[in-house]
Subunit: 388 residues, 2 copies
DNA sequence: GAAGTTAGTTAACTCTACTAACAATCAAAG
DNA sequence: CTTTGATTGTTAGTAGAGTTAACTAACTTC
């Protein structure tokens, strides 16, 4: 019979702070420092964190027991005093599963290490025998199978599963709506946790991507990542935290009307949506038309120019209101790099009042193919280790 | 001689958590609960916070010593058991100073209570003998005098000073640039703290305003407040926290270019800035022109309509990306209420893809005259008591 | 008046981080 | 080669914060 004031392990209704919460925070702090700054001695950790050597020793001993950190032996440093024993986060001994459901042709999953490196990669073509894309329950079962197979490939204990999916995802891991997958109110987190027994986190694909860029891609604490694929989505980091939105729908930018001229018809039934310029199908269609015209070179340039301008027109108020330092584009490099990127940067600066010569930089994301997988891993690392 | 590891009172370089930090958090939690939910007994606090009665008693006794809370005597409730002693935050016994430097005609300051009520109000016309607006050092001295006079009117111990000022304010209370006041790199916080000995907080006026709306005006955890006066500024709350921006310049929306048509020339030298439609001078100018035309009624309607549309065009990407639930307009009600507000709401919904019939509501702020003063007070309450 | 209920306090325990002191191990000076 | 000093990491004991268990106080209900 559970006690009236059952709080289990730090699961409490109120937000009050217990001594153990402070301890948990300090344990995370040690893990985070090692993850970010690399192996160091207990004494160095003590100086970095502002805790005493005694406390750090105790924290590290706790983390050694849990397998979160490992001792690497004596530091090679030559100096007076007792030689230091290097401690590092257990980079080899812990792994994570990342899942990317946003692919157009395949569901993808991978085993990653704590640094976001992909160790094993699995794909499952999305679609059934008739060539149509599978939807609804069929996709759910494919995902469960794919994750189970991926988990079997892990060569070290798994910390958990991260999932990046198209659509809108609630805070407790329920995919509220994902038209591409034929999903509505699918409790992905619950399903995966029951199926695998591993802690699971689910986010929108663009949200996962911005986590990856923020942690591994050199992103800053005020950035937006625009993920351009079949549609256009985004993830935003404001003051170091990802914006979730009042209805868990932050980042939805594809169907915002851009500009004050008519614009072309969108699949959503309205006109002038950002996606009519910036999605990969829209871009490719426009490029094909340009290539068939009289002056393909000039027409192609115009396509890139116009798409970049439209994105910047939509982004200018966002960048201005949030004072973002970085705009990151993630998608096919051959489409987004070069002239399109330049147009975004140029138009953005032209539409913002700024004192700095470069208040905001526009760049491409690294490894756009794997960015969702790595972002999904980041979510797990943050949730389970407080790392990232 | 100070110790090597001098940490004073919870001033630490690292972000490590000490037991005393947890205590401080719980003390804030008690104050916040009382401030938000009103007087209650220790036992009720215990149930609300999830801490034991013992701990709550200890916390409350601590807060009684500090004068932050007071006992109100027995609750009138009739039920079995020992009668409860009501405890409330010390609403009468603590006061705050709010300062608003954004007025066009006067510097304003006030003594406020913990509920944001204005108890004493002081103004000082901004400008010198020649009728020109005072700038630079002259304004600084006027502010220092005004605050000192206001502090003298307080009838209870002062928790601190909050300042809302035009311009861009750094995290440590330095006004980086404020053209209207002729300020550049003015350390307002430091100056006021030295002059008064009271803890001081400084923010942009629109940022202060959104704090007021969030705390006292029924705002939610994902909202933007547009402050329309001589210029147009904004303050944004994302996930319950105010966005500050990479260069402390979040909220700067007045000189973002809106739309893809030419637009009119702005004082900043570019065309199409939001301020050319939405600032009070711009609106009044357009209304005067309309009133002088053939069909004043229709022309006036067009002015409101166009201004509202322009604001919504700028806001749509922001609302979409952040999934904001509320857009609040603060400024002269006769200009912003009615047709303009309707146009904003209508255009915003038309430019966003939404499933909810009402994903975002647009409304006017309460008491626009005092919103900055109250917001400045909120900043102090939050900083000193963890309340709000 | 007895029984049951609720509020608030006291006493003893646990957990966390701290200070003080010490053992281990190296480089550099004499 | 020894001494000195520096640095790491651990052990022992202390102070603070929150907990459980038990108690007193004061009320309603039967």
């Amino acid at each position: 019979m559970p006690s009236v004031r059952d709080r289990g392990h730090s699961k409490r209704t109120g937000a009050a702070t217990l001594p153990s919460d402070g301890r948990a925070n300090n344990l995370s702090l040690v893990r985070r420092t090692l993850h970010a700054d690399g192996a160091m001695s207990r004494a160095e950790l003590s100086r970095t964190l502002g805790l005493t050597r005694v406390t750090v020793s105790d924290l590290v001993s706790d983390l050694l027991d849990r397998g979160h950190v490992v001792e690497l032996g004596q530091s090679g440093e030559v100096r007076p005093g007792k030689p230091a024993i290097l401690v590092d986060i257990n980079r080899q001994g812990l792994q994570v599963i990342g899942v990317d459901l946003s692919g157009e042709t395949a569901l993808r999953a991978a085993v990653l290490d704590l640094d976001g490196n992909i160790l094993e990669r699995l794909e499952r073509p999305v679609g059934n025998a008739t060539g149509q894309a599978a939807t609804g329950q069929a996709v759910v079962e494919q995902v469960l199978e794919l994750v189970a197979e991926t988990a079997a490939r892990a060569t070290a204990p798994l910390l958990g599963i991260g999932v990046g999916t198209p659509g809108i995802v609630s805070g407790d891991g329920v995919v509220l709506t994902a038209p591409n997958l034929g999903w509505s109110e699918v409790p992905v987190r619950e399903l995966l946790e029951q199926h695998t027994g591993l802690p699971t986190l689910v986010s929108n694909d663009a949200d996962a991507a911005v986590h990856a860029d923020h942690t591994f891609g050199g992103g800053c604490d005020d950035e937006i990542l625009i993920k351009i694929g079949r549609g256009v989505g985004s993830g935003v980091i404001v003051g170091g935290r990802r914006a979730r939105g009042a209805h868990s729908a932050a980042g939805e930018i594809g169907h915002v009307t851009v500009g004050t001229d008519p614009g072309t018809l969108c699949v959503c039934g309205r006109t002038g949506c950002l996606e009519t310029w910036m999605s990969v199908p829209s871009l490719e269609r426009a490029l094909a038309v340009a290539a068939a015209g009289d002056d393909p070179k000039a027409a192609t340039a115009v396509v890139y120019q116009e798409a970049g301008e439209r994105l910047a027109i939509a982004l200018a108020p966002v960048v201005g209101v949030l004072d973002l330092a970085e705009v990151v584009l993630s998608g096919p490099r051959h489409l987004l790099g070069g002239p399109l990127l330049d147009a975004v940067q140029r138009t953005l600066l032209a539409r913002l009042l700024h004192q700095d010569p470069q208040p905001v930089t526009v760049r491409l994301a690294e490894d756009p193919q794997d960015i969702v997988l790595r972002g999904a891993a980041v979510m797990v690392l943050w949730n389970q280790l407080g790392v990232a």
